[in-house]
Amino acid sequence: MTYDVLIVGYGPAGITAGIYAARKKLSVVLIGDLPGGEVRNSGDIENWPGDRTTDGNALADKMIAHLQDHADGVEVVQDKVAKITKDENTFTSLTESGKEFQSKTVIYTAGRHPRMLGVPGEEEHRNLGVTYCATCDAPLFGGKDVAVIGGGNTGAEAVIMLQKIASHIYLLHDTDKLNADPVLIANFENDPKVTILYNTQTTGITGEQLVSGLSYKNKATQEETTLAVEGIFVTIGANPNTEPVKDLIELNKFKAIPADRYAVTSVPGFFAAGDVTDIRDAQIVVAAGHGCSAALSAGDYISRLPK
């Protein structure tokens, strides 16, 4: 069969698009491998209106339950889309496990994945002390000295999580001012357990099997220092998951999909929403809103297709 809408991604943008598309009585299949998306790996969430304080898992579960209310209209497939092609007015999406789906439109909300440092020793020590998900792995570093690299909101949240767990935390940032929200920084800026190192550039990760050290350079003095740490939390941003559509649509220099506020892209019938696009604010509430617009745009597009 040919679905009206195929949604790629199981996060806030995709789920919201699914709810809106189902309410328009469109036939929908949603394909995603992490139910709830990267939201699941967020810690506490205090900026989702209506829930003063919640956490990633709780919010993801609520969103999924809401989508399941429309189970008769939205088929959910736990899989990963590997490639999308377009032929005339039909899109074909191929998944990693070899399934193929046809649809009139695609709403692409595949999100982003954490960026790597690209320094010697990083790849070899993945899951051996180097982690990209503080929410997942922080509890494994009880009583250890650790480093968090990147002073944005994700890094600050990692420090806050680790304050209760680790022995000492070094927060390394590449400029002379942290990017995180002041309300987050206030939690640790005066904590003697936390050392903030500014103007740093990570140069290498060392250790026999498990991580035992991190080297960094002071960008002002060029002086190189090695810290004895057993855990390294990398929080230096994220890259868009656009590999499956790189031959379908022109990406921007950050490999994000250019999409307008209505989620319209340069390819007719292909809509994109949330963190995978060039949208400025990678926020749950923004992604959800963009997902809504994508579904409405897709509905509008379908109504104009030749019958």
Partner: protein, 85 residues
């Protein structure tokens, strides 16, 4: 069908752990969960047993021939559990 012993090490807040457990449910796989979030001795035991410092860690089969899968990897899980995706 022979039921294989499946153990998953998790933390409460780990999304990939949740996704892995959903996968088990979908394919009707019984599993034992060890939550290491608030238990440093279990966390240490996991690190010693698996040599890994990241969750989820999934052990399939009986020691000493058990198979270890790190992270949420559907294809590796399907192969180890002998199921078709």
């Amino acid at each position: 069908m022979v039921r294989m012993k499946v153990t998953i090490y998790t933390t409460k807040t780990c999304g990939y752990c949740k996704a892995t457990k959903e996968f088990f449910k979908e394919h009707d796989i019984a599993y034992t969960e060890i939550d290491v979030s608030n238990d440093q001795s279990q966390a240490r035991a996991m690190i010693e047993r698996s040599g890994q410092m990241g969750v989820p860690v999934i052990l399939i089969g009986e020691a000493p021939n058990e198979q270890m899968i790190i992270g949420y990897d559907r294809e590796a899980l399907a192969t180890a559990l002998n199921i078709t995706l």
